[in-house]
């Protein structure tokens, strides 16, 4: 059960880790706790359908629809489901809005709690110790690593996710994008924008 198993220590085609995963899956299947076909469907959903494009549509909708935005800020899960923007959303999703005075950033200092339903699975850096520890003590330094510089008088709020409460950042709509369609706007909203480590810019699409 060590975290340092050598994947290539065995002559067999299965690594130590693979053997452990297969053992678990066989036992859980035999006992009726999981169904291999259902596992495949879960994997397929997270590999192809569930991802930051969902959150991007939520943000873009909030930019063009003030009524939706109000609902989103009040109860994000309800608003997103009601608008048909996601199939499911965990109960306690909180939308936090960036303004001229406040920038929001999301971390999970404990492990990697993350709003899967709207952003997919977290990137490696979100799960890594440096981000988890530094986001709280030096958010400006972390933002600088991501190439984000904010005015000195902008307050940075860091939200620590838990398994029960997860956050999505609603960034400010970039200037020069008035009149853009919701679909066009959604292309500007990257995953990092919604974690608070990036800002949407009209050329974000080109940087992708």
């Amino acid at each position: 059960m060590s975290a340092h198993d050598d994947d290539h220590a065995h002559g067999a085609e299965l690594s130590e880790t693979q053997l452990r995963v297969r053992a678990l899956e066989t036992i859980l299947t035999e006992k009726g706790y999981v169904d291999p076909a259902a596992l495949d469907r879960i994997v397929e959903a997270y590999e192809t359908r569930i991802g930051p494009h969902i959150g991007a549509r939520v943000v873009a909708r909030a930019w063009v629809d003030a009524g939706f935005k109000r609902q989103l800020m009040e109860n994000a899960a309800e608003a997103i489901i009601a608008a048909g923007l996601a199939d499911r959303v965990g109960d306690h999703l909180i939308a936090v809005e960036n303004t001229e005075r406040t920038h929001n950033m999301v971390v999970c200092t404990l492990c990697s709690c993350y709003p899967w339903d709207v952003l997919g699975l977290p990137p490696t850096w979100y799960k890594a110790a440096p981000y988890r520890s530094r986001a709280v003590i030096d958010p400006r330094g972390v933002l600088a690593d991501f190439g984000v510089t904010l005015p000195d008088d902008t307050e940075i709020r860091v939200w620590d996710s838990t398994a029960e409460t997860r956050f999505i950042v609603v960034p400010m709509q970039p200037s020069g994008t008035d009149g853009w369609s919701e679909a066009q706007l959604a292309t500007l909203v990257t995953r990092d924008c919604m974690v608070g480590t990036g800002l949407p810019t009209p050329d974000a699409k080109a940087q992708r």
């Binding site: 299965l14 452990r20 899956e25 999981v34 699975l121 992708r208």
Partner: protein, 121 residues
């Protein structure tokens, strides 16, 4: 649907590589989602055990850069299913060894499948 997803900002994980780096990561992830859906544990209970596994690994020298994340995930999964008495360490070990025997006797390139005699020591 997938085309729409691509048009609206790419598929999950596009900026940092695939969502899962190896199939076992995906399987371990999916088992946890499925067990949670069945009500075996709450996300709070899961996060506590996963967080504890991460701290343990850090304490034994894992730099914890995110690439070992699913190893911690797997260790936490093994722990929670034994804790909930769905299985025990001895059974996990027996099935692990059976899969190893199955792999050993299976010619390269053919699917590895468990047979009853894989459980005979």
């Amino acid at each position: 649907m997938q085309q729409a997803a691509a048009a609206l900002g790419g598929l999950p994980g596009d900026a940092t590589g695939p969502v899962f780096r190896e199939p076992w990561e995906a399987q371990a992830f999916a088992m946890v989602v499925a067990l949670h859906e069945r009500g075996v544990f709450t996300w709070s209970e899961w996060a506590e055990i996963l967080g504890d596994e991460i701290r343990r690994a850090q304490a034994t020298g894992d730099p914890d850069r995110g690439d070992t994340y699913y190893r911690h995930w797997l260790a936490a999964l093994e722990r929670i299913v034994t804790q909930r008495q769905i299985t025990d360490d001895a059974t996990l070990g027996r099935f692990r060894n059976a899969w190893e025997r199955a792999a050993d006797r299976t010619p390269h390139g053919t699917p590895i499948e468990l047979r009853p005699d894989d459980f005979e020591a």
